[in-house]
């Protein structure tokens, strides 16, 4: 059974269907890629998959079930959508990495904060951030650094699926490679899958192992 499956998804805006008939299946180890010009609804598709936008038509199945009601927060904790500009709250990078522990769903799943603290440092080091990055104020971070915080924050929560919305759009080539490495290492290390949105053909080649969804370009 796939971890995450989407069957015949459609999204209708007042102007008409922006996409329709999207079918997608993510199994363990899958690294699917979502491409398409700007304005073709890539972010909308990711948002629809994690239930932030209304499902126009079709079904989203997480391990065979449609998440509903009380299950949705837990579902979103497992199928984690990282926005292109992730939410940063006032405070330090560390505060931002700790943000999800405010929520019940993570309070239940996590115990050792010390372990996580170490892991955050490791991940950031792998991406090439110095140790004092954790103490930086979120308000002075660049767009790219904000993206790094968003990705590391998501990885620390041990999701089953990551939905990444152009996660390296504001990163330099070197950091881009490192982020790819960290994320691909994560997806290879368990019952996990990835959906990556990108504009860069070379990146698509590096990341993709599984299906490719192309939006737009169809009249």
């Amino acid at each position: 059974m796939p971890i995450l499956a989407a069957v015949d998804l459609g999204c209708r805006l007042p102007s008409g269907w922006i996409w329709r008939g999207i079918t997608l299946s993510l199994s363990a180890g899958d690294r699917a890629v979502l491409t398409g010009p700007s304005g073709t609804g890539k972010s909308l598709l990711l948002r629809t998959l994690c239930g932030l936008d209304r499902l126009g038509e079709g079904h989203v199945l997480f391990r065979g079930e449609s998440p509903r009601g009380h299950d949705v927060p837990d579902f979103r904790a497992r199928v984690m959508y990282v926005q292109q500009q992730p939410l940063l709250i006032p405070g330090t990078v560390q505060d931002n990495l700790d943000l999800p522990t405010r929520f019940k769903v993570h309070a239940r799943r996590e115990s050792g904060e010390g372990e996580n603290g170490g892991r955050a440092g490791d991940l950031l080091a792998q991406i090439g951030k110095p140790a004092d990055f954790l103490e930086q104020r979120a308000s002075v971070l660049s767009g790219g650094e904000g993206q790094v915080v968003g990705i590391v924050r998501a990885l620390l929560l041990h999701p089953d699926v990551l939905l990444l919305d152009e996660p390296t759009a504001h990163l330099d080539p070197e950091t881009t490679r490192r982020v790819e490495e960290v994320v691909l290492e994560w997806v290879g290390a368990g019952d996990r899958a990835l959906l990556w949105t990108s504009h860069d053909p070379a990146q698509v080649d590096r990341v993709r192992r599984g299906s490719r969804i192309q939006l737009g370009g169809v009249a």
């Binding site: 998440p67 939410l87 929520f103």
Partner: protein, 267 residues
């Protein structure tokens, strides 16, 4: 045999003329408040004049249904006005606001009439209508400030709330801060006025009673009662309307509805 000095219609012109200074200032400095002051002033005069006529009739007849009808009318107008003053609103908020403001104001008035004042008959308009009016007026301000703060906080900047949701927050966890902010803002006028009451401001009702010849000590006790009632009404009504708005803008699947779904035009 009045215990106070009459204000005649013609003498009101003297009071109105004081506004003219403001109108001149506005025109000279092009502040653009002249028209609004004029409209608001004219509305106030017409509304109060009509109210005077209605009240006189209701007071004379003193029958229950008439008092109830007047109360409901006042509540309906207060509820609608509260929502109309917010910068973002959705159609369903009007009904919510009217239901909440009428329920809370009637409830609090009922408690004070049954438990404290005990007039005969219980719906004696001399007591019920002024109490209700003061509660509604204050609740109106609380609701519009609170609702405006809540909807602006959640809908103008969806990224924050949706960022929380994406991380696995429940709708309540995502909106809790905004609800708290809405209540804080909605209660600011009430709390501020309580803090300085008697020092900076002489409350309107107390002033009225004293002008009408009541002993200051009696007027003070009335005022204290009324302020407690106002505080209770404003907090309950603001909380109620905010929570109903919360229930409308989030689905049970922990999704923040889009502006389109809510019937909101955002610029």
């Amino acid at each position: 045999m009045n215990a106070y000095i009459d204000v005649t219609w013609s003498s009101l012109l003297i009071a109105a003329s004081l506004l003219i200074a403001n109108l001149v200032l506005s025109a000279v400095l092009r502040l653009g408040m002249g028209r609004r002051l004029l409209v608001a002033g004219a509305r106030m005069v017409v509304q109060l004049f009509l109210l005077g006529l209605v009240l006189e009739w209701v007071f004379e007849s003193a029958n229950g249904p008439a008092v109830l009808a007047l109360g409901l009318l006042m509540g309906g107008v207060a509820g609608v006005t509260a929502v109309r003053r917010t910068s973002i609103r959705f159609p369903a908020a009007y009904l919510d606001s009217v239901v909440v403001i009428v329920t809370t104001a009637f409830l609090v008035t009922g408690v004070s009439v049954l438990g404290i004042l005990k007039p005969t008959p219980l719906w004696d308009p001399q007591y019920v209508i002024p109490l209700l009016g003061m509660l509604l007026g204050n609740a109106l301000t609380g609701i519009s400030l609170g609702l405006d703060r809540f909807l602006t906080g959640v809908l103008r900047d969806r990224t924050r709330v949706e960022g929380f949701l994406a991380l696995g927050a429940t709708r309540w966890e995502a909106a809790q801060e905004e609800v708290r902010e809405a209540l804080r803002v909605g209660l600011i006028p009430t709390v501020n006025s309580m803090l300085v009451m008697g020092i900076v401001s002489l409350p309107g009702m107390m002033t009225g009673q004293i002008l009408a010849g009541a002993a200051p000590a009696d007027a003070v006790r009335y005022q204290i009662m009324i302020v407690f009632m106002i505080a209770a009404t404003v907090s309950t009504a603001t909380f109620g309307v905010t929570m109903l708005a919360y229930a409308r803008i989030f689905t049970s699947d922990h999704r923040l509805r889009s502006a389109g779904e809510l019937g909101i035009q955002l610029d």
